[in-house]
Amino acid sequence: MSGVALDPRTAVAFPMAARAAMGDTQLQKNVRHATDVIQAKRARVVGEMPDWQELRETGKQIRQHTMEHLDVYLEEFERNCTKAGGVVHWAQDAAEARQIIVGLAKAAGADEVIKIKSMTTEEIGLNAALEAAGIHPFETDLAELIIQLGQDQPSHIVVPALHKNRQQIRAIFQREMNLPDLGETPQDLADAARMFLREKFLRVKTGVSGANFLIAETGGVCVVESEGNGRMCLTLPETLITVAGIDKVVPRFQDLEVLLQLLPRSATGERMNPYNSIWTGVDARDGPKAFHVVLLDNGRSEILGDTEGRATLNCIRCGACQNACPVYRQTGGHAYGSVYAGPIGAILTPQLMQMEHAQSLPYASSLCGACYEVCPVKINIPEVLIHLRNKVVEQNGPMNPEALAMRAMGMIFRSERRFRAAQRLGRVAEMPLVRKDGLGEGWIGWLPGLLGGWTQVRDLQAMPKETFREWWEKRNG
């Protein structure tokens, strides 16, 4: 279980959290190394595909189409999954999803569950709810295990522990697995995880997973992974509980021909991830005897209703935008105060929270467009960011300081007389703040109050002694 779940309702605002992260040079080094490696691998395998842009275009259209007919496809999935022996549950919000899953685990007689990495279970804070009900969740993805044992929080959608290096991971495993002689090569650490988890895979009778795709046409579920821990959780327990956002549905089995090409190359820079599992309901001869799917709304239907924000739901959670983002690469994931970090987190989190929390996130971007460039389903993240900034200003009302300041500026700029007066006033007002540098140029390193934000990360040159207009008038006079 994560130490304290990342919750946008209680998280420190992004600029404050980012400032703290910028001071952690080890964190920055770890994040930069990891994102550099994935980006290089991604570029190589994407470069192999002459039809990459065509795949992206179809991927985008499949996702858009799905959202336009989401009700039809969810009902179709439910019907086919049920026919195949699965049980479909619907949850309006995180609390209801937790209640359903805890109830199902209890009914299965579980006091332990094995879990596949799932950002959706992080989103709903499932682990804490299971613990509170006396059910211990074991994370089985290596990165999630590192985070759980280290009482930490995920910082990336695909590689949640990329902020930790091998020495840090070794220290966690030595302490939590009681292995004083553990080596420190990645292989030693992976072997330790294999030993630690194998016994749990063979013993624990209930598994919990997320889903990459729900297939409406067949009622099947697809999970994409690398380590085999996913296959273990999906195959060996007697009861399997899968929780998936309502946005995870795809219309037809055939659509995987596109998504299974876009996702692995974008996410981990591999032509195909080592394992994909597709299962449909229950099969008496293969896998769990009981299978439940919890369809989670938790704010997604509100996003669907916002035509400009809707594209956010097209996301297939590859994390490519995080790796490409200059802001994420500097701050790491925790600064975003949500399990969804980086550019996608900056648009997804505020919307999932119905814009009530995480209002600083739409500003956590330089709008450079790198995220749009790498997105395998062509989500125009910068456009959505601007749309959300607009919403933040609107939501804060006409009397908020920023809106008031802008209105005052507008009034000044509309009149030459007022503009000149403001310039004169400015020169007088800045005097106590100006410091001369060695060349005799004036610089301002600190501005008071609201204006202080401007000088937090840059110095401001002092205003010239006379304006161009004043100089021009004097010259002609």
Partner: protein
């Protein structure tokens, strides 16, 4: 109103009304698919590509004539030092060499499966471009647990079942889409520690493939 009704109602309100299956079906069919769908290489080159991609992920791979399969399987098992193999129901005897113990999966428990050195199966289809073998719960391929718990997986693939692209593979799987299906691309791996690729976390740590030539026209 139950949560199902509430969520569906919210979705319909958000979209400005309900959709119909007919409308969705027609719109789906109109989605352009201009990416590569069919093979672009000769079949021999497709086999080479598959071998290349499997080797890239450290699988051992041999392309052999049908009469040499047994000997090749024997060679690979010996090289990996395995003796006691679990095999799914319906695996052709013709590919099983002497000198090893092959036990047909009788629905073994997880712990019993853990006691085998490895597993030997066939595949439904293999994808050259991505270095993938696809298994379904059917004769010769068996239960998912059997190819998961043992530490070694040897997969015998008929050349006729090898395709170049992912779309070709999905088309071949379409008819049996509801069977439990597993795509395997190399052995289990992780890059969670400093992005260093490590083989063999939880699934089989070793994967080998024997490609059986012939029958492409079948």
């Amino acid at each position: 109103m139950d949560s199902r009704a509430v969520v569906l109602k919210k979705i319909r309100a958000a979209k400005g009304g309900a959709s119909s299956e007919a409308a969705a079906g027609a719109a789906w069919a109109a989605i352009p698919r201009r990416f590569t769908q069919a093979a672009t290489r000769e079949h021999g080159a497709v086999l080479e590509l598959l071998m290349d991609r499997l080797l890239d992920y450290d699988a051992q791979v041999s392309l052999v004539q049908p009469e040499a399969v047994r000997a090749t399987v024997a060679g690979m098992l010996t090289a990996r030092g395995v003796l006691r193999m679990v095999v799914p129901v319906g695996l052709p005897d013709a590919i099983l060499p002497q000198g090893f113990e092959f036990v047909v999966d009788a629905g073994f428990s997880n712990a019993e499966l853990d006691g085998f050195d490895g597993v030997l199966t066939m595949a439904k289809v293999a994808i050259a471009e991505t270095g993938t073998v696809v298994l379904q719960n059917t004769a010769g391929q068996g239960r998912r647990a059997a190819t998961l718990v043992p530490d070694y997986h040897l997969c015998v693939v008929r050349a006729a079942d090898v395709v170049e692209t992912v779309p070709e593979a999905m088309a071949r799987l379409e008819g049996t889409a509801a069977l439990a299906t597993t795509f395997v691309s190399g052995p289990s791996a992780t890059a969670d520690i400093e992005m260093t690729r490590i083989k063999g976390v939880h699934g089989p740590r070793f994967l080998d493939v024997v490609l059986v030539a012939g029958g492409e026209e079948a």
